[in-house]
């Protein structure tokens, strides 16, 4: 798809409001002086801010701005005067019926000369994403963490030598920019792909290219895409600063990303980040398996913490101690604020065996209700005879279990277990346990190398009329695994 953003200073006297019926006109093509792209990763949205130098004559000056085959939201296009602002006024803006992706500003000028204008608009089709490489050392005590930002341009327009800013955070939009950009196309209007505008575009490109060519050390075919200038011998800095609820990454210098290309730059580099290994059983989060985790913290003590970490994929590798790497896992992480934990799930470790052994089950506290009455009696009460015409209406189920962990690794492992036990439940154990929430228990243990640990516990589940609440009560008690 051909991308065309054009800006014309219409030198002839045109009828602005009426349809453009003239077949002869004359225009000049002011080039972009600068472009700034502010790209949001939470929405398909980019704010483009470009400046151009335009000559004005006293009186009415029509300025035409068109954006055929791009994804610009026409409702977002704005014009501002950066010089002579007090002597230049936009009288009106017209969106001609016959030219769907075009507008004409009618500028009233009191000057006869140059002025710098700024045009801003929203476009879709430019995206950025983050990704990370976490490379643990062979001992898995530390890791090198590299963060990258990858900017992809599918907007249909090439923004050359643009300052690129990336916004980390979630913004609210009531309408999608891509929908707004395509709204006019949905009206069935055909875009004018060839003809006069095309010739103007070529003229514009030729003009722009003179400057562009001069800046390339050699004309490698896509060196523009690579921003290739020999004097750059260090990776570009990505400056980070907070702005309200957001964080803005500003890439040093300028970038050119042609339509269809994407480019990846390093955004953070942290060496020897302390790493903690934990084994977790959390079926609600990780399924019915014991998973191995890398736990890092996004703070300065961990040599991170200069920025929140945007959503992105973390690819985890480890030095395998044989002069090579092992691929460990790949995981999508969500935004990690400064100071928060980075939790990387690595999967099941075949050297740590995690089993649930049922030791014993039994029932007691059985209550019978005489049929057709509200009379209740407990079965195990001494010397009580219960009517034959009665039914069980309440009881306690007891289950004794052992969580058995076999550690075949060469290091002690830290284990954390968190699982839900619904109903009115008592959790009894000899080890320390706590409530994670009203129906979830959590406990931890350390298992030495080449050892097996049995974490014995008993669950008492009040059933039928014995169940009074939805709750999990933790009790410290001896677990009876046999009668």
């Amino acid at each position: 798809m051909l991308r065309i953003i054009q800006f014309f200073f219409l030198a002839t006297i045109l009828t602005i409001v009426a349809a453009h019926a003239e077949n002869v006109d004359l225009s000049t093509v002011p080039s972009r002086n600068s472009v700034q792209l502010t790209i949001y990763n939470s929405e398909d949205l980019t704010l483009v801010r470009e400046t151009r130098k335009v000559s004005f004559k006293p009186g009415a000056n029509p300025l035409q701005f068109s954006w055929a085959n791009t994804l610009i939201d026409p409702t977002s296009v704005e014009l501002r005067f950066l010089s002579h602002a007090d002597k230049l006024t936009v009288l009106d803006a017209t969106f001609p019926h016959a030219k769907p992706q075009m507008l004409i500003w009618n500028v009233q000028s009191e000057i006869d000369g140059d002025a710098v204008i700024e045009i801003t608009y929203f476009t879709s089709g430019i995206h950025w994403s983050a990704d990370y490489v976490c490379l643990a050392d062979a001992e898995e005590a530390h890791a090198n963490v590299d963060g990258f930002v990858r900017v992809s341009n599918d907007s249909g327009e090439e923004y050359e030598d643009a300052q690129v800013r990336l916004v980390v955070g979630k913004i609210n939009l009531v309408e999608k920019v891509a929908q707004l950009a395509r709204a006019l196309e949905r009206d069935g209007r055909q875009l004018d792909k060839l003809g006069r505008s095309e010739l103007r575009y070529k003229a514009l490109k030729d003009y722009d290219k003179k400057e562009a060519d001069a800046s390339y050390a050699y004309g490698y075919a896509h060196s523009g895409a690579l921003g290739g200038r020999f004097q750059i011998e260090k990776p570009k800095e990505v400056a980070k600063e907070g702005l309200g609820e957001y964080f803005i990454y500003t890439i040093e210098g300028t970038e050119t990303i042609p339509s269809g290309w994407s480019k990846r730059l390093r955004s953070l580099e942290a060496a020897n980040v302390p790493l903690k290994i934990q084994y977790r059983y959390r079926p609600a989060e990780y399924g019915e398996q014991l998973v191995r985790m890398y736990l890092l913290t996004n703070n300065k003590e961990s040599k991170l913490g200069t920025t929140p970490l945007p959503d992105g994929t973390v690819r985890v590798f480890r030095h395998n101690g044989r002069d090579g790497l092992s691929y460990v896992a790949s995981q999508a992480i969500q935004y990690v604020p400064i100071g928060d934990k980075i939790e990387l799930k690595l999967g099941v470790d075949p050297e740590v065996i995690f089993e649930l052994v049922k030791k014993r089950t039994w029932r007691d506290a059985i209550w019978m209700q005489i049929n057709g009455t509200n009379v209740l009696d407990r079965v195990d009460r001494p010397d009580v005879k219960i009517d034959i015409n009665s039914s069980v209406v309440g009881w306690d189920d007891h289950r004794a279990y052992a969580r058995r962990v076999r550690n075949y690794t060469e290091k002690p492992i830290d284990l954390e277990v968190r699982h839900a036990i619904p109903g009115d439940v008592v959790f009894r154990s000899e080890f320390a346990a706590k409530n994670h929430d009203y129906q979830t228990v959590e406990y931890a243990a350390t298992v030495q190398p080449s050892k097996t640990a049995d974490l014995a516990y008993e669950i008492v589940q009040h059933q039928g009329r014995n169940a009074k609440q939805n709750r999990l009560v933790i009790q410290s008690a001896t677990v009876r695994s046999s009668k």
Binding site: Y220, A221, L226, P258, W261, Y327, P350, R360, T361, V379
Partner: protein, 407 residues
């Protein structure tokens, strides 16, 4: 379909225009060859390829172009690392000639509609930089299989573990390091569509336990109308050092089992899928059905005793009539699931079973304490060989359960 993949290092590039719709990528390139390749197969779900090349760089900014076609490389996983530099080639002073290059990756660009990427690399001098490129490669599959040869007396066996690599990745690798995460590293070439099998471990004199098991829930019946249980024969290996294994978990894979025939040859006696077996666990290999051990299982008693209202206890006796028609004594493992027995005689209430062994149980020594669980009972029954007259003794055992507090 022609395959092509190469690492390209741009030393000098010709000029070109930058048209809007198509980027003509005219370039002059050097083609550094692979110096070393390591294929890491230690991740169960992914194959990591690391290749090392010496890339000639010039002072300043260099474009290193990496492209692939008809092969499944996940571009997000590609990692470019400089692992050491050759000497600067352009140093004026001889002393400086040994300085390593300072090489930095400035950015990575991804051209549209191409399986390629371009690193922009800065170098403080000219010379060769040793770089390592790592990526996950699809369609390079690995599997494990075993060959077990049992001694003629079936007391021990030789277990050979093989790793088989199938290269459907459409990429050919010359002499490459191959490592499964355990065992030795192999240095072998592997071509396109080639399958390579390597012996990872060989364990000799591995004690093998031959078991006969009847378990109505796990193995079912051989003849249901006659209540004859299926009695599969297993070879059981324990994956620990005491049993001459225990080097690493045994991977999932097919085990082909042979037996020495006593005449210098071997006979194939069966095969089974060996499950992933952690250290200290048992690998049970189902070899075949033992039809010379006959087990008839009947429910001898099924009575309810009311406690109150609809609450009752249930008494169940399961009877086993066992005959060994072999000319050797054997041990039969009788396994029962208590919950399945309750469901069989009373239907599934959905509740756990509260039970006790009752006095009519005849199995000697009680259930196997190590291998029985609360719901799964395992008894061992010694069976004498059949008599000289060819007749087998009928051994009767009973399992007497009191299932409590049911309704």
């Amino acid at each position: 379909m022609r395959f092509h993949r190469s690492l390209l290092c741009l030393a000098v590039a010709a000029a070109s225009v930058v048209p809007a719709t198509a980027f003509a990528r005219i370039k002059l390139i050097t083609l550094p060859v692979r110096e070393r390749v390591e294929i890491q197969l230690d991740n169960p779900n992914a194959t990591l390829v690391e290749e090392e090349r010496i890339v000639p760089l010039v002072r300043g900014v260099n474009q290193v172009d990496f492209s692939w076609a008809n092969t499944q490389i996940d571009p997000g996983t590609i990692v470019f690392r400089v692992v050491g530099g050759a000497a600067k080639a352009d140093a004026k002073a001889e002393a400086k000639a040994t300085d390593p290059l300072d090489v930095k990756v400035l950015s990575v660009s991804y051209p549209p509609n191409e399986a390629s990427l371009v690193w922009q690399v800065s170098s403080n001098g000219s010379g060769g930089a040793r770089v390592r490129i790592s990526y996950l490669l699809g369609n390079m599959n690995k599997s494990f299989n075993y060959r077990a040869t049992a001694s003629n007396d079936e007391k021990t066996l030789v277990l050979s573990e093989y790793m088989r690599i199938q290269n459907l990745a459409n990429e050919s690798f010359g002499s490459s390091g191959l490592w499964a995460g355990f065992g030795p590293r192999f240095l072998k070439p592997i071509g396109i569509n080639e399958t390579k099998e390597m012996l990872v471990e060989k364990f000799a004199e591995v004690p093998v336990k031959k078991t006969y098991t009847c378990d109505p829930q796990a193995h079912g019946y051989l003849d249901r109308p006659q209540n004859k249980l299926m009695v599969p024969m297993h070879y059981v290996l324990t994956n620990n050092k005491a049993n001459r294994l225990g080097a690493a978990p045994l991977q999932y894979g097919k085990v082909r089992i042979f037996q020495e025939d006593g005449h210098g040859g071997t006979a194939f006696i069966g095969e089974d899928w060996g499950k992933f077996t952690p250290l200290d666990d048992e690998m049970r290999l189902y070899v075949g059905v033992a039809q010379d051990i006959v087990v008839r299982r009947t429910i001898d008693k099924n009575e309810v005793h009311r406690i109150a209202g609809n609450l009752y206890n249930r008494e169940v006796v399961v009877k086993y009539e066992i005959e060994n028609f072999k000319d050797k004594a054997a041990v039969l493992d009788v396994s029962e699931n208590v919950r399945a027995i309750r469901n069989e005689v009373a239907g599934d209430t959905g509740r756990d079973v509260q039970w006790e062994l009752d006095k009519a149980t005849t199995f000697d020594g009680g259930p196997d304490k190590e291998k029985s669980t609360f719901e799964q009972l395992l008894y061992h029954v010694s069976l004498p060989a059949r008599g000289a007259d060819g007749k087998a003794d009928k051994i009767v055992h009973k399992l007497h359960l009191l299932i409590k507090n049911e309704w």
